[in-house]
């Protein structure tokens, strides 16, 4: 029972999972911010499309999104390899969820902040980018860190469109050895080794932020 020999393969998979996480979080949060601005907009041609994207993204299970991107879109001429499809699908889901977190954060900024900026005569763009947004982002951080951890765990769904990430590599190893329990236990452990300290970090950051912001 030499499970150690499968560790390199699991680590390879972990690397792919982490890549997917980083891509979906970085692009997802950026798109999420744009969606949050769209949903908060007074311009209905911006607001409604953004709202539809957010609700669809939050309403449809991530797995279904991956299938639509990977198996569905080629029929309208959009063909992606499996890694790209996974990155796009996960980014979409992350964008939809993060947009609501960012919107909540931006809305939580005290009304007096905007009034003070207006009373000083700051133009609207700098009021938003320099006064409202930094404070809104800051209060979104705990929720966004939680979402990043969930996204990391969510990358295991990419297994279903045969991306060789952690879960997929675990499946391959176990189908050779039939040591399902051991290999999946190790896989779970690998996820936990990343996710649990991340959760601790996010709790710590949350406390720090709460202290620093009266």
């Amino acid at each position: 029972m030499d499970l150690v020999q499968y560790l390199p393969q699991l680590c390879q998979g972990l690397l792919v999972s982490l890549q997917l996480t980083v891509i979906s979080v970085v692009f997802g949060y950026a798109v999420g911010l744009l969606l949050a601005l769209g949903v908060s907009s007074r311009l209905s041609w911006l607001k409604w499309p953004a709202l539809v994207i957010v609700e669809v993204g939050r309403g449809i299970p991530s797995l279904v999104v991956l299938y639509v991107v990977y198996y569905g879109l080629p029929s309208v001429g959009l063909l992606f390899d499996n890694f790209a499809a996974a990155a796009i699908g996960l980014t979409f889901t992350v964008a939809a969820y993060s947009s609501e977190m960012l919107r909540a954060g931006i809305q939580s900024v005290h009304r007096g902040q905007k009034e003070a900026a207006m009373a000083l005569g700051l133009p609207q763009p700098s009021t938003f980018t320099r006064i409202i947004l930094p404070q809104g982002l800051r209060s979104s951080i705990p929720a966004l860190m939680g979402l990043a951890i969930q996204s990391f765990q969510g990358t295991s769904l990419a297994y279903s469109i045969s991306v060789s990430e952690l879960m997929s590599n675990a499946y391959q190893s176990s189908s050779i050895t039939f040591q399902y329990l051991q290999i999946y236990a190790i896989t779970g452990l690998v996820f936990a080794v990343i996710a649990v300290p991340s959760t601790w970090t996010s709790v710590w950051v949350e406390h720090r932020l709460a202290k620093g912001f009266a």
Partner: protein
């Protein structure tokens, strides 16, 4: 020190503020009914009255944080007419001339005290960072808070925060200052620090409109007292006279309620 604070801040002369026939409603609720006030350049007007009388709304109409339904507002040479479309340029022009201090300070919590005072100068007056920060330090020094420059506002007491908020507004060379219950969120003794700075400003010739419950300040410092109730001006005149001999029953009741506290 008083002359220093004002000359340090005033490179332009104080402006008069004239409000003519100003009205505002929220739905069916008329909060301001045909208000007219004339504040002379360099004078101090105190607005008093029970809560809900419309005094804060009136103050917030002057720099258009609230949009009046009718009437005109003139600050210096800038006139804004309610009901007409106010261009962004006219709006910023008006707000640049009028500084405002809020009950809840509203300092920017993500910036140091120094940046709170310097950043608006850079954005609004186009000053360089060095110039803006030097000026910020000079003004902070005048109110005794230079040593707080590199701390964040949450490390400052309420009285200190309010003095910083005053300095932040002064740094932009306003031609008039609006104060919306600047000491109401402060302990009485801490409020005195803030009132001291306001006295200096008044002595230095700043045009000031102050919504306040501080009767002693209103009596000692203001040139003109305006008593409001239910969206109307019910009485106005010289502070000492009104306080000694209020004509209106409503004023009498309000004054005795405030003074007995």
């Amino acid at each position: 020190m008083s002359q220093q604070l004002i000359t340090e801040s005033q490179q332009v002369t104080s402006a008069g503020v004239t409000i003519t026939n100003l009205s505002k409603s929220y739905g069916d609720n008329q909060v301001l009914d045909n208000i007219s006030i004339n504040v002379k350049p360099g004078s101090v007007t105190a607005l008093i009255g029970p809560s809900g009388s419309g005094k804060s709304t009136l103050l917030r109409c002057i720099n258009l944080l609230e949009t009046p339904d009718e009437g005109t507002i003139t600050v210096g040479t800038t006139t804004v007419e309610a009901g007409t479309r106010v261009s962004d340029r006219a709006l910023l022009d008006l707000r640049r001339q009028v500084g405002m201090v809020f009950q809840s300070f509203n300092l920017f919590p993500h910036m140091s005290v120094l940046r709170n005072v310097a950043f608006p100068q850079e954005k609004i007056l186009g000053r360089s960072r060095e110039e803006a920060e030097e000026r910020a330090l000079t003004l902070l020094d005048r109110v005794g808070l230079r040593e707080k420059a590199h701390q964040h506002p949450d490390r400052c007491s309420g009285g200190q925060q309010q003095r910083i908020a005053i300095v932040r507004a002064l740094a932009l060379n306003p031609r008039a200052m609006l104060f919306d219950e600047p000491t109401s969120a402060l302990d009485p003794e801490v409020g005195l620090e803030v009132l001291a700075v306001m006295r200096e400003l008044a002595a230095g010739g700043m045009t000031m409109i102050v919504v306040t419950h501080e009767m002693q300040f209103a009596r000692d410092v203001s040139d003109h007292l305006v008593v409001m109730a239910d969206g109307h001006i019910i009485e106005e005149g010289r502070p000492a006279e009104i306080m000694a001999n209020p004509v209106q029953e409503r004023t009498r009741r309000f004054l005795s309620a405030v003074l007995e506290r």
